[in-house]
């Protein structure tokens, strides 16, 4: 005697089912790539989304267009398709936001970290938000229109800028700041090189790069 198809389905629903454990990767709408490293199981969703973690470390990743192919935290990632990549990582109580330029499928990703939020709530900008600040150098064509906690900016010499604050709070984080003048020359320097290493934002009004572009330069920020 055979059970009807309806009864068979009911038996499956009512039977106790152990929570499924997947020892490999899981794909939703996609077959997970075969070269994902075993110690970093991925939940792959669609063409470019991955939620992954570590079997051996305190790391959680939400990635766009990235797969981890070795256990190296920084260099172990490759592009899924030819496009930009980005990632949000939680690691040891911190929030880390990473981005990468467009690359080809299966090529290695080189991450940069625009923002890290530390466990004590500070935000550290390592400055991938490019600051097109041609402020003091060319007097008539640029202007600092708005500053939060900034009174002035000094152009001391090539690659040497100084920011003056309106409230000398004692923030001094090891953030970096990148300034690019209108010639596209980038200068990266640590906040500590400023005489006052506090926090502030300013906006430059620059005719060189278009119509009154508003630009913010962050040094570091916190509570």
């Amino acid at each position: 005697m055979t059970k009807s198809a309806t009864r068979e389905a009911a038996d499956e629903v009512s039977a106790p089912v152990a929570s499924p454990v997947f020892t490999g990767n899981v794909g939703v709408g996609v077959t997970p790539e075969g070269d994902i490293v075993a110690d970093r199981p991925h939940l792959r969703i669609g063409s470019t989304t991955a939620l992954s973690g570590s079997n051996s470390n305190d790391q959680t990743y939400l990635s766009n267009n990235a797969k981890q192919v070795t256990t190296a935290h920084a260099s172990g990632w490759e592009y899924l398709i030819t496009d930009y990549a980005s990632q949000y990582k939680q690691k040891e109580g911190t929030h880390v936001f990473q981005v990468a330029p467009s690359g080809t499928a299966d090529a290695a990703i080189s991450w940069t970290t625009p923002l890290t939020i530390t466990n004590d709530g500070r935000g550290l900008s390592e400055f991938t938000a490019k600051a097109w600040c041609k402020f003091a150098a060319n007097g008539t064509s640029s202007n600092l229109t708005y500053g939060h906690n900034v009174s002035s900016v000094s152009y001391v010499a090539t690659g040497h800028w100084r920011i003056h604050y309106t409230n000398s709070l004692t923030y001094n984080y090891s953030a970096q700041m990148m300034v690019s003048d209108n010639g596209g020359r980038n200068t990266t320097f640590k906040v500590g090189e400023f005489e006052q290493s506090y926090c502030g934002v300013f906006i430059s009004n620059m005719s060189q790069i278009g119509t009154n572009a508003a630009v913010a330069c962050f040094t570091a920020f916190g509570e």
Partner: protein, 92 residues
């Protein structure tokens, strides 16, 4: 308007932030003098110049500051009230 002064071997250009100047009272020159007192080391000789005086960025490190005694000013101390306002407690 800009502040220019000599610092070691560098001719420094100080550009004010408009929104900060808006918080001050007085003429533009008076505001710039206050800015110089705040942001330049006390006793620094400087000049207030129009924006058009500043050359373009070519040969930036070759810029020189040539003093004009007829217009040159000297930065002064802020008042205790102003130091407190800016939280510059190390100078109080």
């Amino acid at each position: 308007m800009r502040i220019i002064y000599q610092e070691n071997e560098n001719a420094v250009v100080v550009q004010p932030v408009d929104s900060f100047l808006d918080t001050l009272e007085g003429t533009l020159e008076e505001k710039m003098i206050h800015l110089a007192n705040k942001d330049l080391p006390t006793g620094t000789k400087y000049e207030l110049v129009e924006d058009s005086i500043i050359p373009n960025d070519d040969f930036r490190d070759a810029w020189t500051y040539t003093a004009d005694p007829s217009v040159e000013k000297t930065s002064e101390d802020l008042t205790p009230e102003e130091l407190a306002k800016y939280n510059m407690t190390e100078n109080l």
